[in-house]
């Protein structure tokens, strides 16, 4: 057997931000352009504030946004985008209507013209809306048969109570009741440039790209509406909510813990504490319940940020027969990170992972576009990468221990398990009070 030692790492160079430019147009639309010419493409992200929008209508609007304008049918839109190698689609989260797209770099003008038509002159034709409405209903019905979706739905309700974030998917009956006129009205009211952010990333001249956007989107006007939501309520720990899924061969285990936004002085330390606990493969929790015990395949934890609040979510699909033991190890690892300071070496490993991930995330056009767009919706810019790197680099073991005690304590968790209640209720009740409930 040979005896070889692990090669040293060559220290990272300083983070270099790509060339970028920004302009807020007279309409209130902010345009950010970023140059990464590696491939001859351009990525587009448009975020329109959509907080407080009625859920069923907003969801259908996001699915029907490209169904037609006064001059183009849905097929015209799709075909003309394709002709420049382009594609656009829309999605919704509780804060934002998000348009995502890309095209060949030479097709940017055309893609923006088509987008402008959709934004300023939407038709929401009755036939196409009816098709999208039925598709959305089918899609929701399928989602409701997926354990990950059902568990998420139950967790959100438990986390957010009466806050609008508590329900993020409409019921099929609510969608069935939405009429095209209501989409037109919602569009006129909320699809507005004021407060929206357009991000373009790719093989572009940044100033020219902004000029192009200004020209194409010049006709998109209208004051923004107040879509601000009240801050999310504090989590209210209580009995574990057990949702029955008879015959399930796995249980979906979910926990939510408090967290802070990206700009909070505690954020870097909390991110590191989460990593040491369960936020990446080489964490205590994953090494324990997967690599040691074999209870699960892909356990993960993440800090989720929304405009009205942040939360740390823990998720694992575990075999039915080890649901209790998996919960036991989860409570143990949370208790351990909350009670004892992390080791120096495991903290350094987590720190290097967090720093490396930032670099990897900005190494593609799509990665940069996603980061720039999401940061912008929180009022941040790409230089946050540099600031956050510095914060990650300087967070001390004591700080990490302090935030872990504050945020990762298992006593603060809101817990939901979706599984075969008859088989798992006893296992779970041995560890924590359990109440049965519906998703």
């Amino acid at each position: 057997m040979s005896n070889r030692s692990l090669p040293d790492l060559v220290p990272d160079s300083k983070i270099r931000l790509p060339k970028q430019a920004e302009r807020t147009l007279s309409s209130g639309l902010t345009v950010i352009a970023i140059r990464r010419p590696a491939v001859p493409l351009v990525e587009l992200r448009l975020r329109v504030p959509f907080g407080r929008a009625p859920l069923a209508r907003a969801t259908l609007l996001s699915q029907a946004l490209f169904t037609g304008t006064a001059t183009m049918s849905s097929i015209d839109i799709a075909a003309e985008l394709q002709a420049v190698g382009g594609g656009l689609s829309a999605g919704l989260d509780p804060d934002t209507l998000l348009v995502t797209g890309n095209s060949l770099a030479g097709g940017l003008d055309r893609m923006l013209e088509i987008l402008a038509g959709v934004l300023t002159d939407p038709a929401y034709p009755a036939d196409e809306v009816a098709t999208e409405r039925e598709r959305l209903v089918d899609h929701i019905q399928v989602a409701q048969s997926q354990p990950a979706h059902v568990a998420r739905t139950a967790l959100l309700k438990r986390m957010y109570g009466r806050h609008p974030y508590a329900v993020q998917t409409p019921e099929p009956e609510q969608v069935r009741g939405v009429r095209p006129a209501q989409l037109r009205a919602l569009h006129a009211d909320r699809v507005r440039p004021d407060g929206s952010v357009l991000v373009l990333v790719g093989d572009i001249n940044v100033e020219k790209a902004i000029d192009t956007a200004e020209k194409a989107l010049g006709g998109w006007i209208g004051a923004g509406r107040d879509g601000n939501l009240p801050a999310t309520p504090p989590l209210e720990p209580g009995p574990l909510l057990l949702v029955d899924r008879p015959g399930a061969v796995q249980s979906s285990l979910r926990m939510a813990l408090p967290a802070v936004p990206r700009t909070d002085p505690d954020y870097a330390a909390l991110q590191l504490a989460n990593m040491v606990f369960g936020g990446y493969f080489s964490s205590r929790w994953v090494e324990n319940i997967r690599e040691d015990k074999g209870y699960t395949y892909g356990p993960h934890t993440a800090i989720e940020h929304f405009l009205a609040g942040s939360a740390l979510v823990v998720a694992a699909e575990v075999a039915t027969e080890v649901t209790g033991p998996a919960m036991l190890e989860t409570l143990y690892e949370l208790g351990r990170i909350a009670s004892l300071p992390p080791g120096e070496e495991e903290l350094e490993q987590a720190r290097r992972y967090a720093l490396g991930t930032l670099r990897l995330g900005m190494s593609t056009q799509a990665g940069l576009a996603g980061l720039a767009s999401i940061y912008a919706s929180f009022g941040l810019r790409l230089d946050y990468l540099t600031e956050h790197s510095a914060a990650l680099s300087s967070a001390t073991r004591e700080q990490v221990a302090e935030v872990a005690a504050q945020y990762l304590a298992p006593s603060r968790a809101v817990s939901v398990v979706l599984g075969d209640a008859e088989k798992v209720e006893g296992q779970l009740a041995a560890l924590t009070p359990v109440e049965r409930g519906a998703a």
Binding site: V10, P37, S103, D138, S145, G294, Y297, Y353, S363, A366
Partner: protein, 431 residues
């Protein structure tokens, strides 16, 4: 619109132990991607050992000559990187993406497990458990699990290598032994049966030295003969259905055999384009007709290769169409309308601009994938392994753009009902 191309440089060489190496430097971001691909996949696993190629992939992460269990993961992530592996029909890949300064570490880690994984009873049992949970989460505990990639091959194919369940039965997984794993490694994981590709921010001369240093003394073993998995295509329509007790709505998938992706690449490529002509976006033929106009499907998609890896699969393979239907949807009707549209294409040809716009969109998808270092390292490693042509990655947008209407029409004309294999999902929720 003119279809652009990438010009990623490609350097190739072979070490004395037979390891084929591809280097593709690009200094636009301070990151590197490292991929090692072995020429063994699901089709090579022995009878009675379904799922073994994938189980073995897991074992390659469980420690190796100089590395304890957990060390691989910790060394990659502790360098700021991410890792994974995946098992395909014809190959198994292992890869990392890391900050550029961690290149040598990644090469060390890959070389160490190429010399030999630590195969222990404890690690084997642990990973059998993990794989069973993987199968539960992806197949058994969710609606449409394994549809159609695990459900259609047994309808389309006759022989074990092509037809069997690549995730594996629990019985077979539980029967696997450490000796099986040692034999599988000995037979298939020879350096001469593998390729290494490195993409991203590095200097070619330096990387070459590092590769020679770390991989040069991996002992050579004989490489296995490339198996021939050819079998005749269906001579009459084949159709099966099954009840998915978790699925709320019907679904259907059909597949037709296509020419050999490697030996007959020129004849094969039109099928790749045809799948997009039929299903890419709202302006494509089948989406327009089935989803928008007739409303007999909620979604329809088309692609080549049961795992969607059209440029990384060997013969035999297929063009697949899969549709999800609304409540009470009629799968016969969906198939009839698909046939009608294929006929219309085969007899009436394409509309003006239809091919060019599809090709432009395909170019965007191809170019977009290559922007990530792993989007170059992984396909180049497989293209080297299967074709000795990693530079094909640069050429694909242009080659796709050169496919003609006549070729598309001819390809569509072969997608006849009597050559089709179909599997249907009968919704079993509340039944």
């Amino acid at each position: 619109m003119k279809i652009p191309a990438t010009k990623y440089p490609v350097e190739r060489f072979t070490l004395d132990n037979g390891l084929r190496v591809v280097l593709t430097p690009d200094r636009s971001a301070p990151v590197v991607g490292v991929a090692v691909v072995y020429d063994v996949g699901i089709r090579s696993e022995p009878q009675g050992r379904t799922g073994f190629a994938h189980l073995f992939e897991h074992l390659m992460f469980q420690g190796s000559e100089n590395l304890e269990k957990l060390a691989h993961f910790r060394h990659v992530q502790g360098a700021g990187g991410s890792f994974n592996g995946s098992t395909h029909l014809d190959y198994t890949d292992y890869f990392e993406v890391l900050p550029a300064g961690a290149l040598e570490r990644a090469l060390f880690l890959e070389a160490d497990r190429m010399r030999g994984p630590r195969l222990t009873e404890e690690n084997l049992r642990n990973q059998v458990d993990v794989v069973k949970e993987e199968i539960r989460v992806n197949v058994l505990n969710r609606p449409y699990g394994g549809f159609p990639w695990l459900k259609l091959p047994p309808v389309m194919f006759e022989t074990f290598p092509n037809a069997h369940d690549g995730y594996g039965s629990f019985t077979d997984l539980e029967s696997a032994t450490v000796d099986d794993a040692a034999e599988f490694f000995r037979k298939y994981y020879a350096s001469g049966n593998a390729t290494l590709a490195v993409a991203g921010d590095f200097d070619v001369a330096t990387a070459t030295k590092l590769i020679e240093h770390h991989f040069g003394d991996v002992p050579a073993r004989p490489k296995p003969q490339l198996p021939d998995f050819a079998e005749p295509g269906p001579s009459a329509e084949r159709r099966e259905s099954y009840v998915d007790r978790l699925a709320p709505l019907p679904a259907v998938a059909s597949a037709w055999r296509v020419p050999d992706p490697i030996a007959d690449f020129t004849d094969y490529l039109p099928y790749v384009v045809l799948a997009e002509v039929l299903t890419d976006g709202d302006a494509s033929r089948l989406v327009e007709r089935l989803v928008q106009r007739d409303r007999i499907a909620t979604t329809i998609g088309g692609y080549i290769g049961f795992m969607g890896d059209e440029y990384q699969v060997r013969n035999p393979t297929a063009l697949l169409l899969q549709a999800h239907l609304p409540p009470g949807g009629d799968t016969d009707k969906v198939l009839r309308v698909v046939d009608e549209e294929l006929d219309r294409l085969a007899t009436g040809g394409l509309t003006a601009g239809e091919l060019a716009r599809t090709q432009a969109r395909m170019a965007t998808h191809l170019l977009r994938d290559t922007d990530a270092v792993l989007g170059r390292a992984l396909p180049m490693a497989v293209l080297e392994l299967q074709r000795g042509r990693p530079e094909l990655l640069n050429e694909l947008p242009k080659l796709v753009g050169e496919v003609t209407e006549a070729q598309i029409v001819a390809a569509a004309a072969t997608l006849r009902p009597e050559r089709r294999a179909t599997v249907e999902v009968v919704p079993g929720v509340n039944q």
